[in-house]
């Protein structure tokens, strides 16, 4: 039944990794599979509306991209000519928020697939043989999940994923832990091994040529009982420490990246883990540091890494969950101290917690507030999401102490956004006046001020100012008056003259941005 017309859609959001699920579906339908015509688009590309599609697949990623995902599903239904029963939606958001998708009346008939396509295609896709749907008789074929991703479809779109010259694979799926902030237990369940890594890598190499890097998306590789075998397999695949790939004239350094991070609580138990990891060209080694409670284990893991010569370190730091700003600061500062002591460079990536089933990115942790989160976002935006490993840069960006950090978060955001201007240049006078007034606040004044700030939005300034009865807090609040457009433009013009180029500290493919850092401000920006 070849030559059917298959459309694959990834919503037009910004993301770093290509859509593996769709690539596998492309393999299933494509030239090495059912020999259908496969078209891949990113976003609502109206040029597909002139074709009669036999089936349409839509992938979904971040649940907080609900709006863009919704538009894409509406678009897919339009592309299907209103025949929603030919539309299939899967991926992470569709799995985590299955109920929310399912209950949307206008999407009736669309099949929302929960979890992995790890059964025979017709079963995973819920195809109905009674209705004789396309390929509904494929009840014994290999699962789509096990297909080699089709890299060729990526050539059909203009969008360039930050990471693309790589083998994308899993050595294991699921996780031994059940962290309440994480979607993995719901998506993949307990830890289990996947079919041979070598098979996937060889398959990609055979069909699409050799790739430079190996990205392993395992959730907790060190928990696998096959850990040592997996590392040996990676070595056998040519990713030993210092390995290079020669495709053109100049050989390039290869790298292995467990991009979901590794578990410090296991790493610290036995030096074997880091000894093994140091035998492959891992770069960077990502270790999660989710709360200050795992400080000891985390520190041990870093020391072990250093011992085995792993100096390219990077870590995820969850915030806005059960932690407080002080907790986050302590974690960041620990990295700085370790950097100095061991002369290494650990880059930290604070990741804002967001429940896995919320449609917008608006969650506020119990020890955080909207204003703090927005400030944090402004600070991170300036550094592309990375916390510098250099002590002087760090102290300037986040303060010298935890209370400094909190004072920074509470600061009027124009002072953060135009930091140089207010701390060193034309705005200095106003900033210093603010500092004096702010220092005079008693703890209870500060609580009053914070209560107002929690609802702060530049447009609401006047209205909020009228509600403050505490005189001292009211005086400080005057500094939160947003800049007028003229003032803003003036500052920007002056700043432009002295602006040094601010390239990110790390290459794109090694960075982890706090997803949605630049797209979803917590407050509407004054700018």
């Amino acid at each position: 039944m070849a030559r059917k017309k298959i459309l694959l859609i990834e919503p037009g959001y910004k993301n770093k990794y290509p859509p593996l699920g769709l690539m596998k579906i492309a393999q299933y339908h494509g030239p090495n599979g059912k020999r259908d015509n496969v078209r891949f688009i990113k976003g609502c590309d109206t040029s597909v509306l002139d074709t009669c599609w036999d089936r349409i697949y839509v992938t979904t990623l971040f649940s907080f991209e609900w709006k863009r995902i919704s538009e894409t599903i509406d678009f897919a239904i339009e592309a299907s000519g209103g025949n929603a029963s030919n539309v299939f939606v899967g991926g992470i958001a569709a799995s985590l928020m299955h109920g929310a998708f399912q209950s949307e009346g206008r999407w009736r008939g669309v099949r929302f697939i929960k979890g992995l396509l790890n059964k025979a295609p017709a079963i995973s896709l819920e195809l109905d043989s009674f209705q004789e749907e396309l390929y509904s008789d494929d009840i014994t074929g290999a699962p789509i999940e096990d297909c080699i991703p089709d890299y060729d479809i990526l050539k059909q779109i203009k969008y360039q994923y930050a990471v693309h010259d790589a083998y994308f694979a899993y050595a294991s799926r699921g996780c031994v832990r059940k962290c309440s902030f994480c979607g993995v237990p719901k998506l993949e369940g307990d830890l289990y091994d996947t079919p041979s890594l070598t098979h996937i890598v060889d398959g990609i190499k055979r069909l699409y040529g050799p790739k430079k890097d190996l990205i392993l998306m395992d959730n907790n590789i060190v928990a696998s009982p096959r850990f040592k075998e997996i590392i040996a397999e990676i070595r056998d695949l040519g990713f030993v420490s210092g390995a290079k790939l020669k495709r053109g004239r100049v050989p390039v350094l290869r790298r292995v990246d467990f991009n979901q991070g590794v578990d410090a609580r296991i790493l610290c138990k036995d030096k074997m883990f880091l000894r093994e990891l140091s035998s492959i060209c891992i770069k960077p080694l990502r270790i999660a540091f989710d709360h200050i409670g795992v400080r000891k284990q985390y520190e041990t893991a870093i020391r072990f890494s250093h011992e085995f010569g792993l100096h390219d370190l990077s870590n995820y730091m969850l915030y806005n969950f059960h932690d407080s700003p002080a907790d986050l600061y302590q974690r960041m500062v620990l990295n700085i101290d370790l950097n100095v002591e061991l002369s290494i460079r650990i880059f930290s990536f604070p990741m804002r917690y967001q429940p896995t089933d919320m449609k917008e990115r608006t969650f506020v942790g119990e020890k955080w507030n909207r204003y703090y989160l927005r400030s944090m976002q402004l600070i991170l935006q300036a550094t592309h999401g990375i916390v510098s490993g250099a002590p002087e840069f760090f102290r300037r960006a986040f303060g010298k102490t935890a209370s400094d950090f909190e004072n920074l978060l509470i600061r009027p955001q124009k002072f953060i956004f135009n930091r140089d201007w207010f701390e060193k240049r034309g705005g200095r006078e106003e900033f210093e006046a603010y500092e004096i007034e702010a220092k005079a606040l008693s703890p209870s004044d500060k609580t009053d001020l914070l209560a107002v700030l929690a609802n702060y939005e530049p447009s609401k300034f006047e209205a909020l100012a009228a509600t403050i009865s505490n005189r001292r807090a009211a005086r400080v609040f005057e500094f939160y008056k947003p800049l007028t457009h003229e003032q803003e433009r003036e500052i920007w013009e002056l700043q432009k003259l002295r602006k040094e180029s601010k390239a990110p500290l790390l290459p794109d493919d090694e960075r982890v941005e706090d997803a949605g850092l630049d797209v979803e401000p917590v407050l509407t920006d004054a700018k």
Partner: protein, 458 residues
């Protein structure tokens, strides 16, 4: 030639002396082939439920604690539909014979809504398993009969399978019994693994509600001002009966779709201003039907989504056919879609055909179309004069392009800058492209390009 004729004259005429062969194909003819509109299966089962409840009322099976009701439950996750009524139910001893008979309903000639005995097969083509269960008040068991539609489909297609209807039925139908001793009485249909059509129409609560609101014998909404008057007159003239139908256990039962106001198109509302009743005299002089129309501003064709468009026909308070049934009765068929009204068949002369998509064709149904002429002419007149008035006063109903079309301010200005006549024709031509429900990207782009060019030229 001549000898042939002569021999024909000599032929002996005798009654047929073999049995009529009924093949398995009859099952296909009576299920999928009968109901090309999938939603019709709801009408068929509701019709049976209404008859069963009416019979239970006659047998005094209800009291203040137990009131008649029909429940429709759509389960998208499990892909099932349940339609259950608390009517008389089928007594245990008759259960299998009644439900396995094809045709030959005992209800024929008894004023019941269904009388051919085929409607219960309506679900056969739309699910993988069709289950019917029932119990009457005196019974000690619940009887259940299951059709394996998957297997049925296979057998119907298999040329090797014997043609005999009974042989096929024995393979696909099974019956069972479970004990339950109480005074409950009900009939329930369950469709399992319901097929997916387009927007999953059979399990789509909105679609099913909209369909049944128009077709099923449900009451007028309490918010509809003409409801009371209509109820009173129709009860008197057409013995109107309504039933409580609840979908998915919702608080509010199903109502007819009529409201005081309705939207002729986006942003243009119209109201009903008067109600007119009219009887239809039959061939023999007695009345065959009783009808009503609701008059309004006659601004234009009423959209389908309102569920009220067109002159419609009901029998036993269940709709026959669709909103287009009486199109031919109008001089210009388009005026049917400007009208709101319905006819209730009141005599046995007007009977729905087996598919219930039109009346049985006979002298009485022809008479009905003829007798409608004065009414349809009157409506057409109103439509025309309303149009003429609008043209004369040059006051076209406003098209809300400024707010509803999602245009950039600059494009709104461009439209405003057009000459009035040009603007009007532009808005009318491109209006549909910009409606919120239709996402015609190409159309929009083209329309805006044209707009810019026209604005530039003028």
């Amino acid at each position: 030639m001549q000898s042939n004729l002569l021999s024909a004259q000599k032929a002996v005429v005798a009654p047929l002396d073999t049995n009529v062969r009924v093949s398995k194909d009859i099952l296909e003819l009576l299920s999928t082939a009968m109901y090309p509109d999938a939603l019709a299966l709801y009408r068929e089962y509701i019709q049976n439920a209404a008859d069963a409840i009416e019979q239970a009322i006659n047998e005094n099976l209800f009291d203040s604690k137990k009131t008649p009701r029909i429940d429709v439950v759509l389960d998208v996750e499990r892909r099932t539909v349940h339609i259950k009524d608390n009517g008389v139910g089928i007594p245990n001893e008759d259960f299998v014979t009644v439900l396995t008979a094809i045709g030959g309903s005992a209800k024929r000639g008894k004023k019941a809504r269904g009388f051919r005995g085929v409607g219960r097969l309506a679900g056969l083509g739309f699910c993988q398993e069709l289950v019917m269960r029932s119990k009457s008040a005196a019974d000690s068991h619940i009887c259940q009969l299951t059709w394996d539609c998957r297997k049925l489909k296979q057998l119907l297609r298999d040329p090797a399978c014997p043609d005999d209807l009974n042989a096929v039925a024995r393979q696909v139908v099974c019956v069972s019994k479970t004990a339950q001793r109480d005074d409950e009485h009900f009939f329930e249909v369950e469709l399992r693994n319901v097929v997916r059509f387009r927007n999953d129409i059979l399990l789509n609560e909105a679609e099913v509600s909209a369909y049944l609101g128009q077709v099923a014998p449900v009451p007028f909404s309490p918010a509809f001002s003409f409801g009371e008057e209509l109820n009173a007159r129709l009860k008197q003239e057409a013995s109107l009966q309504t039933f409580l139908i609840v979908i998915n256990g919702r608080q509010e039962p199903l109502y007819r779709p009529f409201q005081d106001e309705f939207e002729v198109r986006k942003g243009l509302k119209d109201r009903f201003n008067s109600l007119e009743f009219f009887p239809i005299e039959g061939v023999s002089g007695d009345n065959d039907a009783f009808g009503w129309v609701l008059h309004h501003g006659y601004f234009g064709a009423i959209p389908d989504r309102t569920g009220i468009k067109g002159l419609r026909l009901r029998s036993g308070n269940i709709q026959i056919g669709d909103s287009k049934l009486f199109e031919q009765a109008f001089v210009e068929s388009r005026f049917n879609s400007w009208s709101v009204g319905e006819l209730h068949a009141t005599s046995n002369n007007l009977l729905p055909n087996g598919r219930r998509d039109a009346l049985e064709f006979n002298i009485h149904s022809q008479n009905l179309f003829t007798k409608l002429q004065p009414l349809t002419k009157q409506i057409a007149g109103k439509c025309r004069s309303s149009s003429a008035a609008r043209v004369k006063h040059n006051a076209p109903p406003p098209i809300p392009y400024e707010t509803d079309w999602g245009l950039a301010d600059s494009d709104v200005e461009l439209i405003k800058s057009l000459r009035p006549n040009l603007r009007m024709s532009f808005l009318q031509v491109v209006g549909p492209i910009f409606s919120k429900t239709r996402k015609d990207y190409h159309g929009r782009k083209a329309a805006l390009t044209i707009l810019r060019r026209v604005a530039k030229e003028s």
